[in-house]
């Protein structure tokens, strides 16, 4: 699950996998802009068949922030 998540993030923000970890944050990655954020959320929702509530989207800052939706 973690690997799949990192794979999706890497594809969308166009950063090689080896440079990413769960701790990577938006601040460190220039290409993780607000458009990429939308793209990412929707890709993760569609791939894991989950819903991330719109109210919580601004709180997603690190890759690890996605994990809680995947586990639930």
């Amino acid at each position: 699950m973690k690997a799949k998540l990192l794979g999706i993030v890497s594809k969308i923000i166009k950063v090689p996998l080896e440079n990413l970890s769960l701790e990577t944050s938006r601040q460190e990655v220039e290409s993780w802009d607000s458009f990429a954020q939308l793209y990412l959320i929707s890709e993760i929702e569609e791939n894991f068949n989950i819903v991330i509530p719109i109210e919580e989207i601004t709180q997603i800052y690190r890759i690890s922030d996605f994990m809680k939706y995947l586990k639930e």
Partner: protein, 550 residues
């Protein structure tokens, strides 16, 4: 290829995806789509796209229109403006979407659906335009929505967050279809080879006989009947069908002759390899006889062992997996169409192709019986008709420059627009040649483009379809051009050979024809010159009809 995608909603996602395979332009801001299309000096036209996709979102387009009269008026308004767009830019291919108008408004169930009516009105306006304007094509957007369903296609979350209508899956589907349309023709396969038992019918013919095979127009047998029907449609877009099957030829003949539901007829297949020889060998022979590359062939067989053998022994051949659930065969055929054979427009030459390849196969057959190559070539009664390119030839010429790899000395690819400009230019002369022989009419098969200035002639392009290669047609074509240029006063012609992975067959063409090498660079590009006052006579196998003056 340069492509523009315009829309009345945010399509950045789609545009990003399209940029993976093509240079793409999307207007900034989505309220401006119509202005960008109408204004001659807009950024859109400064980008000079070859193809423009217009994706319309009906909910946004029509949201303030509440009656069918208003909707009709609005859609008429758009179609009138768009008609001027098609007229003002004849060299751009436009793909305009039909509309999908999800019914969201809450109203009593029995009230007719305005949305549905709007979709229909737009489709009929589009159909009229597409019929009138050659450069107006319909982008079948609704069909994409139906493919994955409204709920998956759209994303209300992205809409509220970013003004984006589509889910990622929806955007990807649109981008893939755009890619499909853009690359249609360039990567298109030429030949579809089919197995018979458990592929075109159910069961093994040699075991259960003509009465026992599953093939009918109703119930279980219809899954093969429906499959055949779609294959026939693929054939009708200019794909060559062939059979490669381990079977008794007589048994198969009986099915062709006597099975009521054998939808594909004997004459639908250009080539039949029904024998007990290894399928890889058969496929190689097919490639040779049709004079096409193995990489132009798709092979369909239900037997995984046969498929694996081809994958290993002839890895250039495309070997798709065969569905394990044979009730999905019809969709499998549709999938084959999209993956390997999709074209946006079919030209007259494409439709005739089956007949031409059939003639090709017969020619190879005749070649076997002729004592030697020379008498064989004479026996073909070939007629080469050379003429100056005209307006109506433009698309076929562009298509030939795009597709011809083997007999192509410079491999320059041109769009229809490029060719059209050459026809108007005094610096270019474009010649085309059509070839006929006793087996049939091959249509336009060769193009020669000359760049001329005051003192010299340079051959910009010389290419010929592989259908007529190996018949020394090029000798006589070139001789004609040499004489023509000599006649209008030139004494020298310059030609080039630029090597590619595929144009080996013409590597020594000019040497063979007596041209002098004037330069070879480090990557093997060769420049030649020929003195037009003293070119050698060429062997005359064909009759040449020059129609340049006409």
């Amino acid at each position: 290829m340069k492509v523009a995608v315009v829309s009345n909603t945010n399509i950045q996602m789609i545009s990003n995806m399209v940029s993976n395979f093509s240079e793409v332009y999307t207007p900034v801001g989505y309220g401006v789509w119509l202005q960008e299309l109408l204004e001659e000096s807009s950024n859109l036209y400064q980008f000079s796209p070859q193809v423009v996709f217009i994706l319309l979102d009906a909910s946004e387009l029509l949201q303030t229109r509440n009656t069918i009269e208003e909707i009709q008026e609005e859609l008429n308004f758009f179609s009138n403006y768009l008609a001027t767009v098609w007229t003002n830019h004849p060299d751009i291919d436009f793909y305009i979407s039909d509309i999908d108008y999800p019914e969201k408004k809450i109203r009593p169930y029995h009230v007719a659906s305005l949305e549905y009516e709007a979709e229909t009105i737009w489709v009929s306006l589009l159909a009229k335009m597409a019929k009138t304007y050659k450069n107006c094509n319909i982008f079948k957007y609704r069909k994409l929505v139906k493919e994955i369903g409204e709920n998956k296609f759209y994303s209300s979350k992205l809409w509220y967050l970013g003004g984006i209508k589509y889910s990622n899956a929806g955007a990807a589907l649109i981008a893939r279809r755009i890619e499909c349309i853009m690359q249609a023709g360039t990567r298109r396969k030429k030949c579809l080879l089919l197995d018979l038992d458990n592929t075109l019918w159910g069961g093994v013919l040699g075991e259960c006989g003509i009465e026992g095979i599953e093939l009918s127009n109703v119930k279980e047998g219809a899954r093969f009947y429906d499959f055949q029907r779609r294959l026939k449609e693929i054939k009708e877009t200019g794909v060559v069908l062939g059979i490669v099957s381990k079977n008794n030829a007589d048994d198969v003949q009986e099915v062709f002759n006597n099975h009521q539901y054998m939808l594909l007829k004997e004459q639908d297949f250009v080539i039949k390899k029904i024998n007990w020889i290894d399928k890889a060998d058969n496929i190689r022979q097919v490639a040779q006889e049709l004079n096409i590359g193995l990489d132009s062939i798709v092979f369909v067989d239900d037997n995984p062992v046969e498929r694996e053998a081809i994958k290993q022994l002839a890895p250039e051949v495309e070997v798709p997996d065969f569905p394990t659930d044979t009730t999905t065969l019809e969709n499998f055929a549709i999938d084959l169409w999209h993956r390997y054979f999709f074209v946006s427009k079919v030209m007259a030459e494409d439709i005739q192709k089956t007949r031409m390849y059939q003639a090709n196969a017969q020619r190879s057959e005749a070649f076997k019986y002729a004592n030697n190559a020379e008498s064989f070539l004479r026996s073909l009664n070939t007629v080469i008709k050379i003429s100056q390119a005209r307006q109506q030839d433009v698309e076929r010429i562009a298509q030939l420059t795009q597709k011809t790899n083997q007999f192509n000395v410079t491999t320059k690819r041109y769009s229809s627009e490029d060719i059209r400009l050459m026809l108007y230019s005094s610096q270019y002369r474009v010649f085309v040649a059509a070839v006929e022989d006793k087996f049939g009419d091959n249509g336009m098969v060769a193009v020669i483009i000359l760049h001329i200035d005051l003192h010299k002639v340079t051959m910009d392009s010389f290419l010929m379809s592989c259908r007529v290669m190996g018949r020394q047609i090029e000798d006589q074509l070139l001789e004609y051009i040499e004489k023509e240029m000599h006649q209008i006063g030139y004494s020298e012609m310059i030609t080039n050979y630029f090597p590619t992975a595929k144009n080996m067959p013409v590597k020594e063409l000019f040497e063979r024809l007596g041209y002098d090498i004037v330069n070879i660079d480090e990557i093997g590009n060769k420049t030649y010159s020929v003195n037009l006052l003293e070119v050698p006579e060429r062997v005359q196998y064909a009759q040449v009809v020059g129609m340049v003056g006409e």
